[in-house]
Subunit: 212 residues, 2 copies
């Protein structure tokens, strides 16, 4: 049977999204057939304007409506503490904690299998942030820009994320030996069941144990 082209077109578009298989794509498409046209137009507008109306913050490379982004311009944020993350989405997660420093988004992790090396990521920009301030050249545009004192590397605990963390550690220390570099603590997540924890996680939880 020949399915109507407008339907197959949308099924195809949905199938390209991560985590949406052909069955889910069908289900979503047929669901949208019952939705008022105005809601479809709203949806289409959001998709079309997603990238048109956003830009990269020139300081931290987060995605934002303004450049620099609201976090980099917030006078209440501690500019001496920089958290390095892989993706802008990771910032959302940390913003739900009490973290009061600023961010640097790499937009990926070093992954030789997918041809993503340090040059494909915003690593140079991070080193420049450290160096600029090391040399005392505090930008006139951002007079409140403090020296970077600590970098927290919050890449994912995957092979790629760990490789990126090690690479950054080496590079930043060459640039500026005084910067303190840390990595997120590893161990058991809150609410987890010890019974199901894998041995790597348990080993890291043991190594990272803290006195009460």
């Amino acid at each position: 049977m020949k399915i109507a082209r407008p339907i197959t077109a949308l099924i195809e578009s949905f199938s390209k999204l991560p985590g949406i298989g052909p069955k889910s794509a069908q289900r979503l498409t047929y669901y949208l057939l019952h939705v008022p046209q105005i809601q479809l137009d709203e949806f289409a507008d959001s998709v079309m304007n997603l990238k048109k109306n956003t830009k990269l913050c020139s300081i931290c490379k987060n995605i934002s409506e303004d450049d620099p982004c609201p976090i980099c311009t917030d006078p209440m944020r501690d500019k001496s503490l920089v958290m390095v993350v892989e993706q802008p989405l990771d910032i959302l997660a940390f913003e739900r904690t009490h973290f009061k420093g600023v961010y640097h988004v790499l937009h990926g992790a070093i992954n030789p299998l997918e041809n993503i090396g340090p040059d494909e990521l915003y690593i140079d920009d991070l080193l420049k942030r450290v160096k600029e301030q090391e040399s005392g050249r505090v930008s006139k545009a951002w007079p409140d820009k403090a020296l970077v004192e600590e970098i927290i590397i919050a890449t994912n605990p995957t092979m790629e994320g760990n490789a990126t963390a090690m690479y950054l550690d080496k590079k930043v220390k060459i640039q500026n030996a005084k910067v303190k570099i840390s990595r997120l603590g590893m161990g058991i997540p809150t609410g987890a069941d010890l019974e199901y924890a894998d041995e790597t996680t348990l080993t890291q939880a043991l190594e990272g144990r803290r006195e009460l």
Copy 2:
């Protein structure tokens, strides 16, 4: 932290889709930030044109580019055998089998809790299909339209689907006592594990047993 409005707008649109929670909506949105604008435009176009470029087939109420739809106009399909389904999506599933009859889409099932009664569904249109042909008024436009001889009710095996099947059975029989009405066979699905089958399914499998 204030997230850029174009981002929150798309997250909101995705969250309205069935089976997509706030976390998945975030993930999909941030994924699309890495996608070329041309692919976003294609996606937006498919959403916008989904309903604009499709219509309901006036015979079977399936969604199609043409009216009547390709199935209703196909001379190879057996017009005397009508399969009644709840949704257009169900047709896709049956088209993967060797079913060679035609369809009738109800666009839902009777559900008093959600205020969906027989009048909200395309039930009258089904009865008209049966009646029109019973009275011998075979449409000139579709001379190959045979008398409806059998109706297979393929609503879902849920409370609503079963209620709809019983309602249809009664109504069709009042209209035309000669039409054969059947319901899809119930039992164990292929590949299932008997150990995990629920008792209703097992009871129905026993009732529906066939000689070898």
